[in-house]
Structure formats: C-alpha cells, structure tokens
Amino acid sequence: MMANAAGLLSLGDQGYGDELLAGLWLTLRVAVFGYAISIFLGLLVGATALSPRRIARAFWRVYASVFMGVPSIVVIFILYYNGPFLVRALTEPFGYDRIDVSPYVAGIAGLGIVYAAYIGEVVRGAVLNIPRGQFEAAKALALPRFLAWRKVILPQALRLALPGLVNVWMVLLKDVALVSLVGLADVIRMADIAAGVTKQPFLFYTAAGLLFILIATVSTWIAEALERRLQRGDRGARGH
C-alpha cells in the first residue's frame, strides 16, 4: 500500500507527482497574481474609505458590502461566463472581437476584485491606527502629500497591516481551489484526473490538501521573517 502510494505520487511517466506539481504551479500563479491585483485595487479601495469626500466613502461602503457578502466563486462564475461579452464590448472599436476569457484570467480577476474589499479594510484599519502626530509632523515638514504618504504614512501602515495582509493571503490561497470549478487545470483538477484514472481518490485529494498546507506553512515563515524585518526600526522606540 505504502509503496504503491509512493509509486502513484512519483515524478515521471509512472506517477502523477509531476502533474500535481504542474497544477500546483498554476494554483500558485493564480494566487500570486490575484493577490497582486487585490493589493493594488485594495489600496484604491482603502483610499476611498479614508477619503474626506462623502461620495468616495459611499462607493467604499457599497464595494465592501457587495464583495464581502458574495462568495468569490459566484463572482468568478459571473466573470467567466460574461467576460467574453465584456471584453468584446471593450475591444470591438479596436477591431478585436474574438477574445475568450480563460478560467485563468477569470480566476485572477475575480479573486483580485473580491479580496480588494478585504485589503481595503486592512489598509483602512492600519492607517486609522497611525498616531495623528505623524500626519501633523509630515505637514510640519512641508512634505508634499504624495511624499508624506510614501515616506511617512504607508511605511508605518505596512507594519500595522502585515498581519491582516497575511490573513487575506491565506484565505485567498484556499479560494484558488474553487477556480477549478470553472475548469482551471490547477492542483485539484490534476488530483481529480489522477483519482479517476487510478481509482485512488482519497490518496490524491489528501496529497492536494497537504500541498496547500505546505504553501500555507511556507507563507507563514516568510511572513514571520518579513515581520521581523519591518519591526527592526521599532526596537527601543516604544513608549510614545
């Protein structure tokens, strides 16, 4: 039984190990690109949340409520089915009219849009927890607004936001599994195929689950190292 399992999971023609790893690579890419988009959009969402303009805050409230209230897989399905129409409407004036939206693109876009709402919340919480004096100090130094944010506020906000950002990554990572429902050839899909051929579903799904845990564990290590690095300026500077 054990030798059999090792054979089935081995790399190469005999086993499905290499197929699983190829699927894992795709899962990771969707997760990383989706996360990158969610950080970018999330900063914008966070900015609207903190804006003094009422209309911007109203936009933030609607965005957060919608995308925190709807499962990401529903958003991904909507993008996957309707993406071609959307893309065609955008590109037709330029002469392209045959563009398909792959599960890959729909997954990245869907996760990016949904998790931007959560990132926005993290950003908002972090900026609100920066002492007022920091804003005032930046102003007193006559820093232009952009520089004040880039050099004073955001570096400190990052330290406060890190645990929240890591949290969002962990949740997003597991949501990539759902993208296999629109046909992404990710690690779950590969486990599915291997399970069907070998009649060993339990073995392959467990292997897929353990691969997710492996990524999560490695992520935790990286996050801890990052946290230590970001804390280095904070040593001994406590007590304000």
């Binding site: 409520s65 399905f77 909507i78 129409f85 919480g125 599994a177 579903p201 339990f202 689950g209 997710f212």
Partner: protein, 248 residues
C-alpha cells in the same frame, strides 16, 4: 448580456430552495462544529505536549485544506474505500448532503477551536482566581466563567468565520448539491442566460450575509452592554478599547 427581470422572477423559487439547502448545511455545521471545537480547544491547551500536538495537527490540517478538497476527499474518497463500502457508513458517505455537513463541520471546528482558545487564554486571571476562591468545580469554572467570557471576546472573530463558512458552502455544488450556486448554474445551463441567474444568486448570498451581520451586531451590543454603561459613566477608555478590538 443584460439583466432579465422576468427570468429573475421565474427562477426565484429554485434559488430560494437552494438557499434552504445552503442554510440546511450551515445550521447543523454551526452546532456540530461548536461541539467538536470545544474539546479541540481544551486539548490545545492541555498540559501534555503530545495532546497539544495532536490538537494542533487537527487544526493545521482542517484549517489549511480548502473545503473543496475536503468535500472531494470525503465524498469521492471515503465512499470508494472497500472498508466503508461493506458497512453502514456507506449510506452516510454516498449522500452528498451528509458529506458536505461532515466536511464543513471539520473545517469550521478547526477555525472555531482557535477562536475559542484565543478567547479562553484572554480571560483575565483574576476572574479565574475569583471563581476558584468561590470553590467552583472545574466544570462550573469552565461553563459559568471562562467560556462565557471567551465567547464574548471571540465574538467578532466568530462572526467573520460564520460569514466565511456561509459563503464557503458555495463549493458544495461541486458534489451535486443544488444549493444557491447549484440552482443558479442549472438555470444558466437551461436558459443560456449567463448573467441573470448568477446575479440573483449573488443577491441571495448577499441578503443572507447581511442578515447575519445585522444579527451579530445586535448580539455584540447585547454582549457588551456593561461596557456601554461604563462609557456613559465617564469611563470611555474601556468601551473604546473593546470596540477597537472588535472591528476589522
């Protein structure tokens, strides 16, 4: 690709049936998940290292594995095992509903165990000592003092987890259950309308999550009414400290 109100109205009954299945999974999972999470949380704080390690493995595995994988593992994996096939258990694992409840219970219990542990560890030492001084038994100490305090401390984390769980059940359509997403996808296949059924499904999910949020806000106001009173009695620091911790 436009929203079709007539179609939306006609598929509403099947979506609401789907909502019944979604809630029919969430309800039992909340109860069973709590019953499982409490012992796991207590074992996580055990004095014996190997017991702590065991509970940690449970949490690590069921928290880290995507629920879709758990669903496939249980629904496709167990039902195919010769040991299971020959026993009564087969009747359980052949039914996607039971499999969904089992999978989400394990996942929810792992998250909840960590929330409970966090809450139990944050219970002030003085409260525990006071309860000991009153000669409460260990069970009384747990159920009358530590657990109620822990539940209040963990309430906002619990709210987040319940909402994630509710949205997470959308994965059960992968094992043939006709939940909200399942019903919507069926309507997509039958009507060739790629937008309307899914927008309706999104609206139903949103409504459920919104009701959960409203309910939890009420519960939180009730659970922390003593803090509000202190606020009016010119001691706002405690109340705000509590509410800051609750947000995000």
């Amino acid at each position: 690709m436009t929203f079709d109100p007539v179609l939306a109205w006609s598929i509403l009954p099947s979506l609401l049936r789907g909502a019944g299945i979604t809630l029919g999974i969430v309800g039992p999972v909340l109860v069973l998940g709590f019953l499982l999470a409490l012992p796991v949380a207590l074992v996580r704080m055990s004095r014996r290292a190997w017991l702590r390690w065991l509970a940690w493995m449970f949490v690590l595995f069921f928290r880290g594995t995507p629920t879709l994988v758990l669903l496939f593992m249980i629904y496709n994996g167990f039902a195919g095992m010769p040991v299971v096939r020959g026993s009564v258990l087969w009747l359980v694992f052949i039914d996607p509903y039971y499999c969904a409840v089992i999978a989400f219970t394990l996942n929810h219990a792992a998250f909840l165990a960590e929330i409970l542990r966090g809450g139990l560890e944050a219970v002030p030492k003085g409260s525990v000592e006071a309860a000991r001084a009153l000669a409460l038994s260990r069970a009384q100490l747990l159920f009358l003092v530590r657990l109620p305090l822990a539940l209040r401390l963990g309430l906002s984390a619990y709210q987040n987890e319940v909402i994630l769980l509710t949205k997470g059940t959308a994965a059960v359509s992968a094992i043939t259950l006709m939940d909200i997403l399942g019903a919507a996808n069926e309507a997509v296949a039958m009507t060739y309308d790629p937008l309307t059924p899914l927008i309706c499904a999104a609206a139903v999910y949103w409504a459920i999550v919104h009701l959960l949020r409203v309910g939890f806000t009420r519960l939180e106001a009730r659970a922390s009414r003593h803090l509000v009173r202190q606020e009016t009695a010119r001691s706002p620091s405690l109340a705000t400290a509590g509410s800051v911790q609750h947000k995000v």
